[in-house]
Subunit: 313 residues, 2 copies
Amino acid sequence: MKYVFGVDIGGTTVKMGLFTDTMELVEKWEIPTDKTDGGKNIIPDVCGSIKSKMEEKNISSSDVTGVGVGAPGAVDDKGMMPGGAVNLGWGPLNLKELMEKELPGIKIVAANDANVAAFGEMYAGGGKGYANVVAVTLGTGVGGGIILGGKLLAGSTGAAGEIGHMKVDDEETEKCNCGHTGCLEQYASATGITRLAKRRLAEDDKPSSLRNVETIDAKAVFDAVKEGDEVAEEVAKKFGKYLGKGLANIADVVNPEIFVIGGGVSKAGEMLLGFVEPEFKATAFPPCKGAKFALAKLGNDAGIYGCAGMVLS
Amino acid sequence: MKYVFGVDIGGTTVKMGLFTDTMELVEKWEIPTDKTDGGKNIIPDVCGSIKSKMEEKNISSSDVTGVGVGAPGAVDDKGMMPGGAVNLGWGPLNLKELMEKELPGIKIVAANDANVAAFGEMYAGGGKGYANVVAVTLGTGVGGGIILGGKLLAGSTGAAGEIGHMKVDDEETEKCNCGHTGCLEQYASATGITRLAKRRLAEDDKPSSLRNVETIDAKAVFDAVKEGDEVAEEVAKKFGKYLGKGLANIADVVNPEIFVIGGGVSKAGEMLLGFVEPEFKATAFPPCKGAKFALAKLGNDAGIYGCAGMVLS
């Protein structure tokens, strides 16, 4: 029996998974992310945890097909992170090489965390069975991962799929975290939806159940939509208009078979797609508009599945 | 000595090239495109011309590494054209298989004409030396071709790189040829620039040399810019704003090393890039904005070079 490890390094915890080489999950666990000292303990901690698990399960190096690792920053196809990882305190480093030093003789595959989660959804989740997938993560921000011909697209500086910063509004005056204005993330992320809702509520006095909600967030908006709240529906339509248009532009560029929508916002379920698909179909160039839509299935485990899948594919 | 043929099927003529397998152009020629009877003579005509040339040059089938062919329609990676080619009168057909029947024993590689021209620029033109290239053709319309890791991206329905129909303006009221509004092609193609210029001239009476020009086209606009005409410069800036923004959104998706700008509009030369690059850099997500810009070098021969290059790569 051969084994694969998947390691998804996040800003708070590192999610880890041990899989068989037929992608059965044997065990998953987490370790805290130690961001002290510029995050210099993270890689030794991760590799130590892998070595302990190998010992515990009596797995030798030769039984390990490889370790896949995802990190929150741009990672090129040689494992280099030219911009480091701000959320981990890392400056520029080569993630693959550093892991190889700690785990001699074991194959390491490294990629950006959003890309890896995308790959997981393609390999074992909402996009299973497709080879040309755009995975969209609607969380605090908007991330993306692009899989073409079954392979993850890294891009020339490891920044392919950074779709959250596509410009979708020329009139926007508020700045995105990136310093630009009108980024997709400003409308389609969890925080973007909150912003759209607050803006809409400030426009007039139209009654809405959202006015009585303590915290207006994406969940509150979609819950109100389900109850038939008109203001919430306007907000959801605006969200769908921006996201549908953004995805249509992506479809014209890479012409995928399917979009897989994940992240916290996607917990609203299938109804979410009902706001996005019509705008997508109205905007995409006809030969590109047959792309399907599906919800992500693996949730927070997409990263570890994707890391393991990268090793096996 | 081995040989390769490149065949670029256009609506009026078929451009053909005979190359050595080290990409030396031996000879290029054209035959008319016979669009009668649903274009059913085109493939036999093309293959007949290849056979005549082989006879003339005393080249046997075993001396031919392959024939690359580009056609004006979506072509998937099996050579199928699910939507045919409107400009040739073709319904759905498999270009690769039909060519193989006419040229038994010779390897055929088929792709979309704009994609093939893009590949030519990557292989032997303005993008030579790069593996991740977005080629942009600013002609009557706006076409594109995307090369990632040295390979042409076809897309799931053969429509990758159809960047002319990305939506870049939400306020547009006039329709694009595709039936949508606000497509990049409406601002950045030769006809788009003419449209922008006529719109600008109709806005007020500001003096401009363009008011005395018989035919206002892209050349007239850029010629006037060179002479310091303020109205023409406004038009060029608007063109650059739309194209720069569109290319920035593409950069966020596929993160290329270089954009290669070709087509009739690119005859304006390096000054054209001066209108596009600043808007690109202001809009692209920081890790993606290092992409270089270059002008296409092969002109109308990009297609035959690209066809030959596809066979050899």
